[in-house]
């Protein structure tokens, strides 16, 4: 907690959890897809489902998927922007088991055919938590530069990836591993203290057993429009 958590953030209203947090969730999903999304199915749970419409949660989620920051004045008009950019989307309500009241499950398809399923919750004050990536449970906030690596479940993947980070002078803050089952695909989520350059992600992508690499860099409070 710092002074600008108290006085701030600059955001488009009306709610830090239902609007600003929803934009952040959209931004995270976009980053983890790693390409321009062209199709999105969003399933709203709990309070997101019941009060989302009045809070602009729908527009906020789509704004994030389009790469708008939480303080972007274009958020209320994000549906029109989605049309211009060729993003088709659907909304539905769904009860997600054991999920925080402000949660959403997003299925995305990208312009180059990439797919992602991500579940996330908005915890209040604009803070969010991703709890699921492609069916595997996880927990990260997007407050630190985050590397999400899909790999095949085989020996050596973790040490190779962390080895590359060490060489680049990037310090690992947290590391989580989850897999579908022995020998199946796994997801590694690494939160780092330093931003992860594109070249580092490329090096990791070329390692044996690595299926997909995506980076998320927390957005600065930049001002648009």
């Amino acid at each position: 907690m710092n002074l600008f958590d108290i006085l701030g953030p600059v955001m488009v209203g009306p709610s830090s959890s239902h609007t600003a947090g929803a934009v952040r969730i959209g931004l995270l999903a976009r980053a983890l897809l790693g390409q321009e999304p062209v199709r999105a199915n969003l399933f709203l749970h709990g309070s997101f489902a019941s009060t989302g419409e009045g809070h602009g949660t729908y527009q906020a989620l789509i704004a994030g998927l389009l790469g708008l920051a939480p303080d972007d004045s274009r958020i209320p008009g994000s549906f029109e922007l989605a049309k211009e950019r060729g993003l088709q989307f659907t909304f539905a309500q769904r009860t997600l088991r054991d999920a925080h009241p402000n949660s959403v499950l997003i299925q995305l398809e990208g312009v180059w055919g990439g797919r992602l399923e991500m579940g996330a919750s908005s915890l209040g004050g604009g803070r969010v938590k991703v709890f699921q990536v492609d069916g595997l449970s996880t927990s990260f906030s997007g407050e630190l530069p985050t590397l999400v690596v899909h790999n095949s479940d085989q020996p050596g993947c973790v040490s190779q990836v962390t080895g590359v980070l060490a060489q680049e002078g990037i310090n690992v803050a947290t590391l989580q591993l989850n897999r579908g089952g022995r020998g199946e695909s796994a997801v590694m989520v690494i939160e780092c203290d330093q931003p992860i350059p594109q070249s580092t992600a490329d090096t990791i992508r070329a390692l044996p057993g690595i299926l997909r690499v995506n980076c998320y860099t927390p957005e600065q409070e930049i001002h648009h429009d």
């Binding site: 907690m1 710092n2 002074l3 600008f4 958590d5 108290i6 006085l7 701030g8 953030p9 600059v10 955001m11 488009v12 209203g13 009306p14 709610s15 830090s16 959890s17 609007t19 600003a20 709203l44 749970h45 709990g46 309070s47 489902a49 019941s50 009060t51 419409e53 009045g54 809070h55 602009g56 527009q59 303080d71 004045s73 958020i75 209320p76 309500q93 769904r94 009860t95 209040g124 004050g125 604009g126 001002h223």
Partner: protein
């Protein structure tokens, strides 16, 4: 170095230092964030500019999603120009400013959460008319924002700034408790007077419930920004007159935390109790998914 867990401790740390309270707050926060005092100043200065821009961008014709909110800031501003207003020109401008900002937020405009989006009207409502009325500089207003956020940090640490956790006292109450010491700073009051202003502002709104109609940040949130601003002004004026909070400020914040925990969940932002549960409010109730 202030650790932002106790008002008493913050005053003691400041009395041992050569720096004024606002700068102690800034420098202590810079150390935890790893930024320079200049970077911090630029950011805080931007917060003030953004508040002013939001106030300027208000449009009376805008309406919120439900249609329940919009236009009242314009009504109040027109009334404020009349010759025989009940509260006089300055307070009328404060009330108009609080309504404008609350309505901007409900209508999906860009605002500065202070400390929350729902309570974003309180600080600008007192600071912007104050600037016009008393002719203070931009820099003095930025200093006042440091004072406000320093007290806000302690409120967040000891009690809460979330309506879902502590009711509206944690949102509008906290905003008022941040604005009151900021006003004391602008008037040249002492750190002790700032602490008393903060405590009295909290005490006056202790127990305020969070009961938004339809669960939306609209009714009664927008108008509660008005009472938050008026609370801040009255608490600041009492402190400047030398009136003290009988209950020590830190204990007031602890009481706020305890009251928040005691509130039933129907009165903590669920949209299920209070005004939300009235026959009127129930028309806007949505079914849980």
């Amino acid at each position: 170095m202030i650790d932002f867990t106790s008002i008493q401790q913050m005053l003691e740390d400041t009395s041992r230092s050569d720096l004024p309270l606002w700068d102690n707050i800034r420098r202590s926060d810079c150390r935890t964030q790893g930024i320079t005092p200049e970077q911090s100043w630029d950011k805080m200065s931007l917060m003030l500019d953004t508040m002013k821009a939001s106030d300027r961008d208000y449009r009376e014709e805008d309406r919120s999603h439900s249609g329940l909110v919009g236009g009242d800031g314009g009504k109040m501003a027109r009334y404020a120009q009349g010759e025989k207003t009940l509260c006089g020109p300055f307070l009328s401008q404060v009330m108009a400013g609080a309504l404008r900002m609350g309505e901007c937020n409900a209508c999906m405009k860009r605002i500065v959460a202070a400390p929350t989006a729902g309570a974003c009207g309180v600080l600008p409502a007192v600071l912007l008319p104050y600037e016009k009325e008393f002719g203070v500089s931009h820099d003095q207003l930025v200093e006042a924002l440091y004072v406000a956020s320093g007290f806000g940090m302690i409120i967040a640490a000891r009690a809460s700034i979330s309506g879902a956790e502590g009711g509206c006292q944690a949102e509008i109450g906290s905003a008022a408790a941040m604005a009151a010491p900021a006003l004391v700073h602008l008037q040249g009051g002492s750190p002790e007077q700032m602490a008393n202003a903060c405590a009295m502002a909290v005490k006056n709104l202790l127990g305020l419930v969070c009961d938004p109609v339809g669960g939306l940040v609209e009714v009664p949130c927008v108008k509660r920004n008005v009472i938050g601003a008026m609370d801040a002004l009255s608490a600041a004026q009492m402190a400047l007159a030398g009136i003290e909070s009988r209950v020590p400020p830190d204990q007031v914040l602890d009481a706020m935390a305890e009251v928040g925990r005691s509130l039933p969940h129907t009165l903590r932002e669920t949209g299920k109790g209070g005004l939300a549960a009235t026959p009127f409010g129930q028309q806007y109730m949505h079914k849980e998914a």
